[in-house]
Amino acid sequence: MLKVHGLKFKYKDRDILKKIEIQINKGEILSILGPNGTGKTTLLKCIAGIIKPQKGSFSIGSKNMSHIKRNSLAKQISYVPQSSPSKFPITVFEAVLMGRSPYIMWRPSEKDLKIVVNVLKFLKLEEFASKNFDQLSGGEKQKVLIARAVAQDTEYLLMDEPTSNLDLKHQMEIMEVISNMVKTKNVGAVFAMHDLNLASRFSDRIIMLSRGEVFCTGRPEEVITIENIKRVYGVNATIKNNNGILYVFPDKPVNNKNSNLINKPPNNQAHSEVFYDSKIKR
């Protein structure tokens, strides 16, 4: 179990994250939702050790990970960025092999190569193996980045908007592959997401962030409610429940006059683990 405790991140004078407490379980997909600029990406980067928070600690199991070396951290947590620019030509095989970096000093071992071959097969990327990464489509690139994280073979997998640049088919494919992997390999996955429908469909648990704070957390149907969408996103929406799958239909932005409503959590329920709206209770 990965626990984040009292995480605070400031950029210049702006508080991006204020006192975040979250918990990531193995074998579970946790989605982080919230409008632009609420600190979803920042939160992931803090956990992945890419940026250093001013305050806060995090632990895996009983082990405190705050002062751990970057290379050791990379053996436990992998991170898939939104995009990975490649200024110089590399093949797909080489790109995925980079996932083995925490274990490579100078030369990849036979074991590393075998793992890469298996991962390419697992994600059905075999035919691209010796193609140039830059020549792939957006969806294929995203898959390669995911393959790299899978090759890293970590207990926790963080992904920043894994579906943002993808068409429908690639979106579904990637989400299915990952949720499959989460269950079979007992991995803890965290997604920063924009798409409420995809999030509610594939997540076991959702955290809604608002202005750098945890607005609420819970099961999808507990978090994705008309009221929460209105308060956090400032949008009026309707929600349909079709055989346990939620469908969100955004209607229109909330009128500015009522904006004092937005972003303020309802009384005392802001940090409660269970918070739901009885209207959509199945």
């Binding site: 980067k45 992945a48 050790g49 890419i50 970057r70 290379n71 050791s72 951290l73 990379a74 053996k75 947590i77 992998s78 991170y79 960025p81 990975s84 620019p85 490649s86 200024k87 110089f88 030509p89 590399i90 093949t91 095989f93 080489e94 790109a95 980079m98 996932g99 970096s101 925490p102 490579i104 000093m105 100078w106 030369r107 190569l113 075998k114 071959v117 298996n118 390419l120 097969k121 075999e126 035919e127 193996a129 010796s130 830059d134 020549q135 890293q152």
Partner: protein, 342 residues
């Protein structure tokens, strides 16, 4: 596709890279031998060859004291500048970076100008080299401190480097303006770059300064690969990017400064050979560093040999010849650049 095939394909891909390195080593050997046995002086091919192994008076002197040091220096500078160029392109994530991008050449040039104009009674070849080396390293240290103060991003470093370049260039121009005719002539000559004045002493100094940092850079090859995919990815894969970037910069600057302090500015080798290398073996620095080093040495050696033979007994300065070869090639690269930088 069969899994076995993916595996063998990768192996083959790497075997091809090793093959290139072998081929270039052989080509280098042949060219070096050719340059050693052939020259503008009238000692023939055969005499040069015997002079290599037997004391034969004038022929031995020409081979051992003129040609061989020159060839070795050409190899050292070609190798050093290309490795420095490859590393600069990787850590600055910029395909247009070269050993001179960060104002190192203008720093060195300014050092040489100072020594030539104010050297007075201390004036010597070593004073020029020392001063050039000092100011070359100074310019890179200034950039390092700016990067430490603000942020160690490639953009900050490149911008700071360009500012330094302008500063030292205008300082050089200013002192040339107040210098005498002879001094200005010598300065101009220094900026052309030349291998004419190399002896064994210079070679030993330069070799030490080049070969101490090179093993470290080769050892960091894998991490340099990661850096090219972006800082975030590299960090997430366990690389301390700030440390790697700073170290890479110090070592690459050291190599560059060592190469140019005795020879003057030899242009384009450091920019172009990493690109040719990447075309042939891709961006895996474990193979790219040796390949581009070999290409650089071949380029410098060929350019110098041409410079010696073309207009004998006049010697065309090496810096001029490499640019003659380098610039058209650079244009070719720019035009060929269909996807991204390739």
């Amino acid at each position: 596709m069969h899994t076995e095939k993916i595996y063998t394909e990768y192996k083959k891909f790497n075997a091809k890279k090793v093959f290139y390195i072998l081929i270039f080593t052989i080509i280098l050997g042949i060219i070096a031998l050719g340059a050693l046995l052939h020259g503008p002086s009238s000692i023939g091919f055969k005499n040069s060859f015997t002079a290599l192994f037997k004391e034969t008076g004038i022929a031995s002197a020409i081979v051992w004291e003129l040609r061989l040091p020159r060839i070795i220096m050409a190899i050292l500078t070609g190798c050093g500048l290309s490795i420095a160029g490859t590393v600069f392109q990787a850590i600055l994530k910029n395909p247009l970076a070269s050993p001179y991008t960060l104002g190192i050449a203008s720093g060195a040039g300014f050092g040489a100008v100072l020594a030539i104009i104010f050297g007075g009674s201390l004036y010597s070849e070593y004073l020029i080299a020392g001063s050039a080396f000092f100011f070359a390293m100074l310019s890179s240290l200034i950039i390092l401190s700016i990067a430490r103060l603000k942020d160690p991003s490639p953009e900050t470093m490149i911008l700071a480097g360009i500012a330094i370049m302008f500063l030292f260039s205008s300082l050089s121009s200013f002192f040339q303006y107040i210098g005498t005719m002879e001094q200005v002539q010598e300065i101009v000559f220094w900026f052309f770059g030349s291998l004419s004045k190399t002896g064994w002493k210079e070679i030993s100094i330069v070799s030490v300064m080049i070969f101490v940092p090179i093993p470290f850079l080769i050892k960091s090859s894998w991490k340099l690969n990661l850096l090219a995919t972006g800082d975030e990815s590299a960090k997430a894969l366990g690389v301390n990017t700030t440390k790697l970037r700073m170290q890479g910069m110090i070592f690459a600057s050291l190599i560059t400064s060592a190469c140019i302090c005795f020879t003057g500015v030899i242009g384009f080798v450091g920019l172009v050979s990493p690109h040719i290398g990447r075309m042939l073996v891709g961006s895996d620095h474990r193979f790219l560093i040796p390949t581009s080093a070999l290409i650089g040495t071949i380029l410098v050696l060929v350019a110098d040999t041409f410079g010696r033979i073309l207009w004998a007994p006049q010697v065309i300065p090496i810096g001029i010849v490499t640019s003659f070869i380098g610039v058209p090639f650079f244009f070719y690269l720019l035009i060929r650049r269909t996807r991204g930088y390739w």
